[in-house]
Amino acid sequence: MINLVDPLKIAYGSILANRLRSLLTTMGVIIGVAAVITLVSMGEGAKSYIMNQIGSWGVGANSITIQPGNENSHSIEMTLTYEDAQALKQKVNNLQYLMTEIVGRGRLVYGKKEYKPGYTLGVSADYPFAYKQKAVEGRFFSHAEDSGRKRVVVIGKTVARNLFGEFSAIGENIKINGVGFKVIGLLEEKGTMLTYDMDDMVLIPSTLSELVLGTNKIWEMFITVENETQVPQAIKEIKKTLMARHRKEDFHIHTQQGLIDIVNNILNAMTGIVSAIAAISLLVGGIGIMNIMLVAVTERTREIGIRKAIGAKQRDIFLQFVFESVLITMSGAVIGISIGTLAAWGIMAYLKLNAVIAWGAVYLACLVAFLVGTFFGVYPAVRASKLDPVEALRFEV
């Protein structure tokens, strides 16, 4: 068997003997790898942040959104109705939740205080399940309360703070657009999503929308099925049902897959650009390594002569120099990965986000560094192994 341990030790010794030069040699690799790891880790972090945002808004891969109007027409016709929703509830298999959303503007009055929230929505009782937003205080209204047109309201934190300050809102009576309501629940805090304050929101039963908001036209229907593999079948059933009722395609259907695809596409494009930069950096780094290895071969001609005189074969000398080159590049990769990871963490911490270590990129960086080290190390190593021992022994630096 070929002895690989001893040439590896010899190569390691040579690198340690020239620490500074080895470090400078591999700088190109360090910079290239660090850049890739930083950007890819940040990209992965951004991706997981966006996915989380989408997920926390309740909009998972198992959800389907139906909006009124033809996708290609400019004006939005409000073509979806409460009856459509009831029909879908019966016709779509594996349906988990169906939430209708009617959007309007509300003016809230509590005693002498007045407040206009960002959104006043008429929603069905599936809202807390579909959007995964519970009531932290009090409760959400039930299906019975919705169909029974009970005047109950659930409010967001921002609304509560503006109307009630530090006091509990539960059980208080307020007026929305002049209609009296009882506050029965306070929504869990959601924070801002893409600059919208998700807590500046008031939810009333959808059946009261016409009375309070002056419209019963559904802005959006939100359906979830049990798992995402059922989404395509559900889309077919929705289309069939609505086409039967409307006789034309005056609605359009979205799934989250589209949004997820867009996010992925952007990040993949970014990764592609970064990889191209890294490839150039590694190429330049590799040439630098080859250059230094050629210098090292010349510098150590006498050492090579001595080694050959005492019995080193061509293969021994070849392995020694190739290992040296591979070790230098691999160390560069390891240093680059460390720097890149730290930098990504630093930057993302500054942006108050989490970096995700891109293990794929880490493994790839190691593999590429190995290949670069091997490729650019072979020629100098062949030159070293082919040196004539007598000439090499005579060589004076």
């Binding site: 002895n3 010794g13 080694r307 005492i310 061509q314 021994d316 021992p389 022994l393």
Partner: protein
């Protein structure tokens, strides 16, 4: 052919080209060295002493003629086999010691054992023994820069003995040493020879040559004298 013949050189010629000029370094050398001999090769600069050493030591190949080492015809061997012969059958000692400066004494002595594929524990032990033989058991971990010329040459001799070679070839081994160190080295060679080790040394110093058993004189690439001294 006697089993005792270690080196047999037959009609060896070696031609170099320095630019377009043809240099006949060796012009038909015949030499036979038997086991246990201690031979000095003498002659003026450029007479081909070193070239002959390189050829006998399998570092170089003759342009024509034959070299047998332990009855093996070396011109039929490829480069790898020559490396193996240099490793196992030949021990080199150079004028400038040729130790690796970044390795300490014991590591330098270990080198031929590494290339012979000997494991770490075994080669450390062997290297330590050899350094004891040359009288340096208290300098195992000194780097060449921390050793005197005489000590460095002892390390080099220990290294040449590492794989129990058939022959030691020493090219001007005392050339870079003061006379006291030189004497010590030559006495070390005598001691090794008395243990049965075959030696060829190249020198232009008659004093040194007088310590050997046989003196071969070269001139212009030919053997001009071959005398048994003792």
């Amino acid at each position: 052919m006697s089993n005792n013949v270690v080196v047999r050189v037959t009609e060896v010629k070696r031609v170099y080209f320095m630019g377009k000029v043809e240099v006949n370094a060796l012009r038909g050398i015949n030499l036979k060295v038997e086991k246990g001999e201690f031979v000095s090769i003498m002659g003026p600069s450029g007479c081909g002493k070193s070239t002959l050493m390189h050829i006998v030591g399998c570092l170089d190949r003759p342009s024509s003629g034959h070299v047998h080492l332990d009855a093996v015809d070396i011109d039929e061997l490829d480069d790898n086999s020559l490396a193996e012969i240099r490793n196992k059958k030949v021990g080199f000692v150079f004028q400038t010691f040729n130790l690796l400066p970044k390795l300490n004494a014991i590591e330098n002595v270990e080198l031929p054992l590494i290339y012979a594929g000997i494991g770490f524990d075994q080669r450390r032990k062997k290297a330590a023994e050899l350094l004891e033989v040359v009288g340096l058991s208290d300098r195992l971990y000194h780097k060449p820069s921390e050793l005197s010329g005489g000590q460095s040459q002892r390390v080099a001799i220990a290294r040449s003995l590492a794989n129990d070679p058939s022959i030691i070839l020493a090219d001007e081994p005392t050339g870079n040493l003061d006379s006291k160190s030189g004497d010590e080295i030559i006495h070390l060679f005598q001691e090794l020879n008395s243990r049965g080790i075959t030696l060829i040394i190249v020198t232009h110093d008659q004093e040194i040559a007088n310590h050997s058993k046989r003196i071969v004189r070269l001139k212009d690439g030919l053997v001009v004298a071959d005398d048994q001294v003792r």
